[in-house]
Symmetry: C2
Subunit: 364 residues, 2 copies
């Protein structure tokens, strides 16, 4: 029988850890007292979990690996999350650190359809890091956003993404915004030969997201963005199934609200659920992440993992143009560098500032 291996951190004193470990093991498998579970042969033989290891963590507390039944997890993508970190998330002392999957899981959750290589083919960015900029603030009209989009394209940006606050607002309706921004990148392409890819944000209930995806595809959008924790990870899975030819960039909004280690959530779960590119807050920005953790997220996105394609790490969260060489040294060339406010602050000289950014990446 195949098992899902899951690693939790348990922040409890040594005297309490055995009881908590046993409790988590039941909670994440059958959620009944052990005598009740073992009453039924099928449950006893196929649906109980196993404690694989329980060791002190060098940084305090304990690290526990469980083997959990894939028979439960494979019912659907929500059940997969349920087995991974459902009720155990209600234990304030438990944190999801990591997980490892047997092959059947990849049939339900096949990961990126395009990933890093697909995005390189789509954009023509062969080996260097991608450059990425954000259309914001929310409140600009569709024509104003298109002006910004045109300037970024003229500055040589590869991926011009909507801010995650851009939705189907009355002051900048989704379809008008998408059409205006696509026209902007199209004009710059015709005039300069540089083909920027505009990445609109899809937002709303699952129906709204799917409708926006249809509108976007019909208008000619090649890559779309969603915030998987806002719309729900199963909705991301569904989007990738409904639109097999639309690469998806994932935004981390609401994702920090979890007690799941960022490499496990942004690096593994987002990739597993189909994100081709994943934006995350890098070290040295606004969010206080460590360099080790940032590099670990990028590593999880790109490393070999079963049949899954590597995904593109997108470094954001307050990156500045001056840090281009340092960031490339830290993360390597298989990344996108997302610079937001630092470009927008340039105001009248936005295009020049953007060129400094894209040229720094080109020569790095």
């Amino acid at each position: 029988m195949t098992r899902l291996r899951v690693c939790y951190h348990l922040a409890v004193p040594p005297g309490d850890v055995a009881a908590l470990a046993a409790s988590v093991l039941l909670e994440q498998s059958v959620e009944v007292p052990h005598p009740v579970a073992t009453r039924h042969a099928f449950v006893r033989d196929h649906l109980l979990g196993t404690l694989e290891s329980l060791e002190p963590d060098p940084d305090g507390g304990f690290r526990m690996w469980l083997a959990l039944p894939t028979a439960t997890a494979l019912a659907d993508p929500a059940q997969f999350l349920n087995v991974l970190f459902g009720n155990v998330s209600l234990h304030p002392s438990a944190r999801l650190l990591d997980f490892e999957l047997p092959p059947p899981c990849f049939e339900m959750l096949p990961g990126p359809r395009f990933g890093l290589d697909g995005l390189r083919r789509l954009t023509g960015v062969a080996r260097r890091p991608f450059t990425c900029a954000a259309l914001k603030p929310v409140g600009l009209s569709a024509p104003e956003l298109a002006v910004l989009c045109r300037q970024f394209a003229e500055g040589g940006i590869d991926l011009i993404k909507d801010d995650h606050y851009l939705a189907d607002h009355p002051f900048a309706p989704f379809e008008a915004r998408v059409r205006a921004c696509l026209e902007a990148v199209g004009d710059v392409h015709a005039r300069t030969g540089h083909r920027a890819v505009y990445v609109p944000n899809l937002s709303g209930t699952p129906d709204q997201v799917m409708r926006q995806a249809v509108v976007a595809r019909q208008a000619g959008v090649q890559v779309a963005m969603v915030a998987p924790m806002l719309i729900g990870l199963p909705a991301l899975r569904e989007l990738t199934r409904h639109h097999p030819d639309l690469p998806v960039m994932a935004h981390p909004s609401f994702a920090g609200s979890t007690r799941i280690a960022p490499p496990a959530l942004l690096g593994k779960l987002f990739r597993l659920f189909g994100a081709d590119a994943v934006i995350f807050a890098s070290y040295g920005g606004r969010f206080g992440n460590t360099r080790t953790e940032s590099v670990a997220v990028a590593t999880c996105l790109r490393q070999p993992w079963g049949p899954l394609r590597p995904a593109l790490p997108v470094l954001g969260g307050g990156m500045r143009v001056e840090r281009v060489p340092e960031l490339i040294a830290a993360f390597g060339p298989d990344v996108a560098l997302l610079v937001g406010g630092d470009l927008l602050e340039a105001g009248e000289t936005l295009i020049e500032r953007t060129r400094i950014f894209t040229e720094a990446v080109a020569v790095a």
Copy 2:
């Protein structure tokens, strides 16, 4: 202009709090440097937030109330979450404590369609607490689950809910399970006059959840359960819109993974997104919640709140029959008491043990 008022806890030293407060204020409104935001008249006038108060928290750190623009939040239910706790969730020192909404928010998110009173009408449980039991463990076949369902119905349970691990598994397919359990409660009703309500769990991607809801309605299901954090809160909103005549019970799986205070998440957000009943781990059970926090969740679910109907608090997470009088004293009669493993442990005497439970509630 109407504003969304949001309260965050900031766990930082006094010397750092002003900078973090200013940063969160921008992060949750326009996510660009202040000079960029104020360049645009519409943004400056309508989309910036305001710091309303910043005070030391008696338990350490600071409590900050912000007024944030509803113009952004009202685009769709995912944007609402984004404005409430999107990027700020990436600050490890920030936690969402509470929020208050202006009337326009209730048009997009009208809350429970049935709520406490609707569930009382539907079940005929007039004034006393509801009794609730769970069908588990996962791994039982549909006929085995139906046997359990029948026993709980014979024991007098009001609401017999699926365990949250029950999904559309090959060993207990959704439709077969639903039909068998409905037949079981129907038989007991015909024989004894006691009408238990069977509450199946809907799980999966949004499409799967909606399909299961259709199957359930056609089979005669009167109340369904979902885990909103597993399927995504916007999918819950959509379910309640697609099935206006199907009350929904919400399960907290994956909900503890957030850094959102349980009264704000389970008490306010779940209710706002349309849950008619909300299961949460009460104090004294398996999850170590405090009595104060548990009562606060119940209070948030039931208290007057704009045009929203009160929702039914469902106390779970390891409740035992012997605690019935104490729990009713603590929470009052407008609750459901969910007893799971404690009943199942009775084995051969399940019906008797269930009767002890339902009679204790009846006389309390």
